[in-house]
């Protein structure tokens, strides 16, 4: 604890010292936030699940189901695609907008199934989570 306080004091003293000469070192300015202004960016510093989510979003992917599921026509030709990490997943179908009765059913791998209430088509798309 005391060593941490000393380190903070040392850092504060380093901050109070004015930068020598021109404020920027000569040479091409690096694109990294930390080197340029002193504050890191998420690109440099994010870690763990936050980093995985960030990198997936940059590629246009959503492996952790953060965004609303994509809406499909729900017909035989254009079924709702339901991603899953195993061979089945629970689906909750809100047949019409503002319906308060959600139709729950297990969706299994293989042939598309239909909602028992409104008949919309759902197809399981098994995939592996990146790790």
């Amino acid at each position: 604890m005391a060593s941490r306080l000393l380190r903070v004091r040392g850092a504060l003293r380093a901050l109070r010292r004015p930068p020598p000469g021109p404020l920027r070192a000569p040479g091409p300015a690096p694109a990294r936030g930390l080197a340029a202004g002193g504050i890191p960016s998420d690109e440099e510093q994010a870690t763990g699940l936050e980093r995985k989510v960030m990198q997936a979003m940059e590629k246009g992917q959503d492996p952790y189901n953060i965004l609303q599921p994509k809406r499909y026509a729900g017909t035989k030709e254009d079924p709702n695609l339901v991603p899953s990490i195993s061979s089945k997943r629970i689906v909750g179908c809100i047949c019409e907008e503002d319906n308060s009765c959600v139709i729950w059913f297990w969706l299994h791998k293989g042939e598309p199934q239909r909602c028992p209430s409104c008949g919309a088509h759902y197809k399981l798309v098994p995939h592996h989570l990146p790790h």
């Binding site: 903070v8 850092a11 504060l12 901050l15 936030g33 930390l34 340029a36 202004g37 002193g38 504050i39 890191p40 960016s41 998420d42 440099e44 510093q45 994010a46 870690t47 763990g48 699940l49 936050e50 980093r51 989510v53 492996p63 952790y64 189901n65 953060i66 990490i85 989570l129 790790h131």
Partner: protein
């Protein structure tokens, strides 16, 4: 090893909720011991355990978010909701004390002399130190906004300078208010005027101290490079709390110091 397929944070088991509850029990029973049995031991112990709980719990939150990356966008959204709901609850806490003040001051009883301020009370001049305090807090609102913009613009030096000035202004307010309390010609025991004045401004002062502490923690974290230009919710929460403290003061100043004199 099983991986979650959601972006939420399932927190590991932690002892701090239990120690927090123990601290609450010790502080409340300790208060009774202090009132009736002339002993501050239980209360002091409760206070110590509460401070340790807060330090370790929030240290763990920082470890989970900054060092382990558990604070994904949905998690951050939840933290935002949480802080907003907490500040809202604090707003209602202060509404209670303003209600008490207006109840007593809008229809002063015969015991007070039928007037407000009550007979015998010399209120503080609102255009002296209280006005300075208003300027100090308003200025700190400006400097904390400067801090936020510097942070988003990746300017480390200005972030640290502006945040330091904000904290100094907060401490200056506390020092001025402490001096006012010492020099005031009336006390908390001086009827309903004293009660409403010191309870309302006293709880506000406590919130200024809490807010300043929160900002100091943010300053230490900023120096240690915890915040990025796009992810710094700890600082945003501190800034929201600080603005709330400022707004409460403005209501206090207009109602109690100015209208109430």
């Amino acid at each position: 090893m099983a991986h979650q397929m959601h972006a939420y944070h399932m927190v590991d088991p932690s002892p701090w909720p239990l120690t927090g509850a123990a601290a609450a029990l010790l502080m409340t029973s300790g208060l009774a011991m202090w009132f009736h049995h002339n002993s501050m031991l239980l209360m002091t112990l409760g206070l110590l355990i509460m401070l340790l709980t807060m330090f370790q719990w929030w240290r763990d939150v920082i470890r989970e978010g900054t060092f382990q990356g558990h604070h994904t966008p949905p998690v951050q959204k939840g933290l935002r909701y949480g802080m907003i709901l907490f500040i809202t609850s604090e707003v209602f806490f202060f509404i209670g004390f303003f209600w008490a003040f207006y109840h007593s001051s809008l229809a002063p009883t015969p015991e007070l002399g039928g007037c407000w301020p009550p007979t015998g009370i010399t209120p503080l001049n609102p255009f002296e130190v209280p006005l300075l305090n208003t300027a100090v807090l308003l200025a700190s609102g400006v400097t904390i906004t400067w801090t936020h913009h510097s942070l988003m613009e990746m300017n480390r030096n200005q972030t640290i300078q502006a945040l330091t000035i904000t904290i100094l202004l907060g401490l200056y307010f506390t020092a001025l208010q402490a001096m006012e309390y010492y020099e005031a010609p009336f006390t908390i025991a001086d009827g309903v005027y004293g009660s409403t004045f010191f309870v309302a401004t006293g709880f506000h002062g406590l919130h200024v101290i809490i807010g300043s502490t929160f900002l100091i923690v943010c300053l230490l974290r900023q120096i240690k490079f915890h915040f990025t230009s796009t992810h710094h919710f700890g600082f945003e929460a501190a800034a929201w709390y600080w603005h709330f403290v400022d707004v409460v003061w403005l209501f206090l100043y207009v109602s109690i110091y100015w209208w109430g004199s």
